[in-house]
């Protein structure tokens, strides 16, 4: 197995007396694409924030390879309309970037044509590519992508996932991404981590999609559906705590 870039163990996070994460664990190796999937409120973004060091877990360990260079692509970017900023200037906020390097990075993601456009004038798909280019300018060992295909049409989504695979090979970096979309992700990833406050199941896509815990979490149709269904393996009461009664199905990788 190649070098471990990132290891999270037994992560617990509480917000306002709500358990957001209860003992989640995660590993990313160099050259590996790991995708976090799970329903809304499963703690995907929280786990990513812990990975990035933006949030300190209440309990548990976050280990990063020393001096790990992380390229981060946020879910969305809102720049105030009064700030006149071109795509080039946005990319040059990364120290040591000149026009040639910015153009090269935009070339890798297929967005050279927007280099001189104002950041507020480009389309959603172009914005995702620009954000990816900015992450690449950091020469990342680990790419962290929070819902990278948000606001992109279906054809563009497949193209973006393909691009992420190409970039992984070229940079030999690890990729950790969050996604809502089951179908496209399954074909574009090495490792799927199914999160619902804890890791319900994880493994290779084929393995996971036949896992009873996965089927429980996403429903029987999940494998053939491109559009994500909200189906929990449990229900919540008004206070958000899990209603017991219906047993949770443990998968082979279930760690609790």
């Amino acid at each position: 197995m190649s070098e471990v870039l990132l290891r999270l163990d037994d992560i617990h996070v509480r917000f306002a007396n709500q358990n957001v994460l209860e003992g989640a664990q995660l590993q990313v190796h160099r050259g590996e694409i790991v995708t976090l999937i799970g329903p809304n409120g499963a703690g995907k973004t929280t786990l990513v924030r812990a990975v990035l060091g933006l949030l300190k877990p209440d309990r548990g360990q976050v280990w990063r390879k020393p001096k790990l260079r992380v390229g981060y692509m946020p879910q969305k970017l809102h720049v105030d309309a009064t700030l006149p900023l071109s795509v080039l200037r946005f990319l040059r906020l990364v120290p040591g970037v000149d026009r040639a390097r910015a153009l090269a990075a935009l070339g890798e993601v297929g967005a050279e044509h927007v280099i001189d456009s104002p950041l507020q004038k480009i389309s959603g798909g172009e914005m995702q590519r620009v954000l990816l280019a900015r992450a690449l300018l950091r020469e990342p060992e680990l790419l962290v992508l929070d819902e990278p295909v948000q606001g992109v049409d279906v054809a563009g989504q497949a193209e973006l996932y393909r691009l992420i695979g190409v970039l992984r090979d070229r940079y030999d970096c690890g990729v950790l991404m969050v996604s809502h979309d089951l179908h496209l992700v399954m074909s574009a990833t090495d490792q799927v981590v199914c999160l619902n406050r804890h890791v319900c199941c994880s493994g290779h896509p084929e393995q996971v999609s036949s896992d009873p815990a996965f089927v429980e979490l996403f429903g029987q149709d999940a494998r053939s559906l491109a559009i994500y269904h909200h189906q929990h393996d449990h229900s919540h009461d008004l206070h958000g705590s899990v209603v017991t009664g219906k047993p949770h199905v443990h998968g082979p990788n279930c760690k609790h």
Partner: protein
Amino acid sequence: MPDFLLNALLAGLALALVAGPLGSFVVWRRMAYFGDTLSHAALFGVALGLMLDVNLTLAVTVGCVLLALLLVTLQQRQPLASDTLLGILAHSTLSLGLVSLSFMKDVRVDLMGYLFGDLLAVGPSDLAWIVGGSALVLLMLIPLWRPLLAITVHEELAKVEGLPVAGIRLALMLLIAVVIAVAMKIVGVLLITSLLIIPAAAAQRHARTPEQMAFGASVLGIVAVCLGLTLSWFEDTPAGPSIVVSAAALFLLSFAWPKRA
């Protein structure tokens, strides 16, 4: 040109120069009300300075910084929205300043001067503080420029990329506090924010880069100071408000100017 007018002009120009880039950040980061709150607190700083008999510019700077820290603490500790907190702090510190000043019977205080500025009374030592303070802020802005832009665009991205976001935000608050202390003599605590945001807002429509907007704001501020002082000289109008009126006129004119394609 008489000395007092030359002093006034130099003080106004120094402030306009530094208000351009700093005001641009106030506009981009939507801190107009924050600046207003700090400047209202400046009067409390004046009262403290008189009470403790220390340099007023220093007292005002320290007062503004303390208020900024108090605000950050309050924002984290309780659920009231920021604009409510700012409103509470702005008016209570202004009132606290006025009340404290009224207790100092033996100190002759020109209240109007503090509220609306007393540019034509700027003496050589005031001028030294104003030029020195402005130069300090401009010098500090040079290394801070790119980090400030980075956190304005996306704070978490900047943090992941290794920038000390909290420190940079604090530095920006400090710079604004210094400019408020400097500007108080020129336009007074009630009008300071206008000098930060009006030139920046006027420059915004025609700027294509952050630097163009900052530089344009400085130029427009300088023009506003010259126009305001001219108005004040010939028509005997109050100098500070005349500068603000000139700046507002330039802002309106910026709409008449055709926008570049």
